[in-house]
Structure formats: C-alpha cells, structure tokens
C-alpha cells in the first residue's frame, strides 16, 4: 500500500515536471510578437483572401485557444497561407509565450 502511494506521488511529480516543460512567458514574447502586431495590432486591418475580413481580435482570448489556433495553422488543419508561414516559424515555446502575452491582455481588461 505504502509502495503504491509512493509510486503515485512519484507519478505526480513526473507529471508536474512534464507539464512544467513549456510555460508561456509573456515577457519573453516582446520580441516574438513583432510578426503579430503588423496585422493584429492595427484596428481595422483586413485580410483579403478568400473573403475580405478584419483580422480577428486576439487580445483577451485564452492562452490555450491561441496555442490551439497557432498549432492548427502550423499543422495545416487551418489552411491559411500567411498564418501557416508564421506559425510554422514558431517553436512550441514561442507559441506558448505569444499565447501568454495576448491572453494577459484579457486580465488587464477584466480588471478594469
């Protein structure tokens, strides 16, 4: 019984360590969002293909959603040439940092 307990504790530690591998750091994103702000930082900025539409507001989305979206562009589940090019150039750590950066803008708004 004791052994099982010890194993469980160990497993918990290993899990925590695995989860801790990639943690988004919004401060590290400053240099990485350069590519984002040229479109997503400009009110009214439009993409033109195949529909004409304003690029989405991403400030305030959850980090998890932003990571999901970027990974979907990277893997080609979302087929969008510009976003594929950008997402493919980002490492998992870059994606986590950028996602943390934009999701924190939510916290600031919510605190208002």
């Amino acid at each position: 019984m004791k052994k099982i307990f010890a194993l469980l504790v160990l497993a918990g530690i290993v899990n925590a360590a695995a989860a801790a591998d990639i943690v988004g750091n919004p401060k590290a994103a400053a240099a990485k969002v350069e590519m984002c702000i040229g479109c997503h930082g400009i009110p009214g900025y439009k993409a033109t293909f195949p529909e004409v539409y304003q690029v989405p507001m991403i400030g305030g989305q959850s980090a998890k959603y932003i990571e999901n979206a970027l990974n979907a562009y990277k893997k080609g589940e979302r087929k969008h040439p510009s976003m594929h090019g950008i997402a493919a150039s980002l490492s998992d750590q870059d994606i986590a940092d950028v996602a943390a950066y934009y999701s924190q803008q939510a916290t600031r708004t919510a605190q208002k």
Binding site: E51, Y53, Q54, M57, G59, G60, Q61, A69, A110
Partner: protein, 113 residues
C-alpha cells in the same frame, strides 16, 4: 472610371452583406444550434479554454471562420471535426446573421500591441 465605379459598387454591396446581418435571427440560430454549449452562455466564457471567446469579435472574421469550416479540408478551409459538423446546416445568410449577433454582444477582446 467605369471600372472604379464598378469596384465602388461591389464594395458597397459586399459591405452591406455584412452590415445586413440580422441580429435577431442570428440569436435564434445560436440558440437552435447550441453554440453556447461550448462557447459559453455569454460567449465570453467558453466551457473549455481551448475554445474561443466569440462575443464582440469582428462580424466579417466570424463569417470568414464559419465559411472556412464549411470548406473543411479543401483550400482555405478549416478542418475541425466539431465545427465542421456544426456549420453543415448553415446557409450563407445564416452565417452572416450569426456573425452579426455574436458581434453585437459585449466583448472582452481587445486590439492591442
């Protein structure tokens, strides 16, 4: 000159296509298709953090996204099993109405560097 006029005319028509989204019908459709079951009751609190907040998002982007899910695995599409199923019954008019409704809601999203 003629081409410019045509271009302007097309611009006005396409703008109207989005401006003309029927918010009330969009609300009815959102209820009918249970969008809030995942995206959250006020469309600001998705039930899972991997789903996007939709409230107040640009209507033309939302319409583009829904259209992309409709294209599915094809060019310029989005291949997502859940959303792919959700958009199947939607007409283009439904999409524009839904987008207008979601855009009309109070938002937590911001445009910021």
């Amino acid at each position: 000159m003629k081409k410019l006029m045509i271009a302007l005319f097309c611009g006005v028509v396409s703008l109207n296509a989005f401006a003309g989204g029927n918010v009330a019908n969009g609300e009815a459709l959102a209820k009918k298709y249970n969008c809030a079951a995942c995206h959250g009751a006020d469309f600001n609190k998705p039930v899972d953090p991997s789903y996007p907040k939709l409230a107040g998002q640009h209507a033309d982007y939302l319409a583009h996204a829904l259209t992309a899910y409709k294209r599915g695995d094809g060019p310029n599409g989005r291949n997502n099993p859940i959303m792919g199923g959700q958009v199947k019954p939607l007409s283009n008019k439904d999409i524009v109405d839904l987008a207008a409704y979601l855009h009309s809601l109070p938002t937590e999203l911001i445009i910021h560097r």
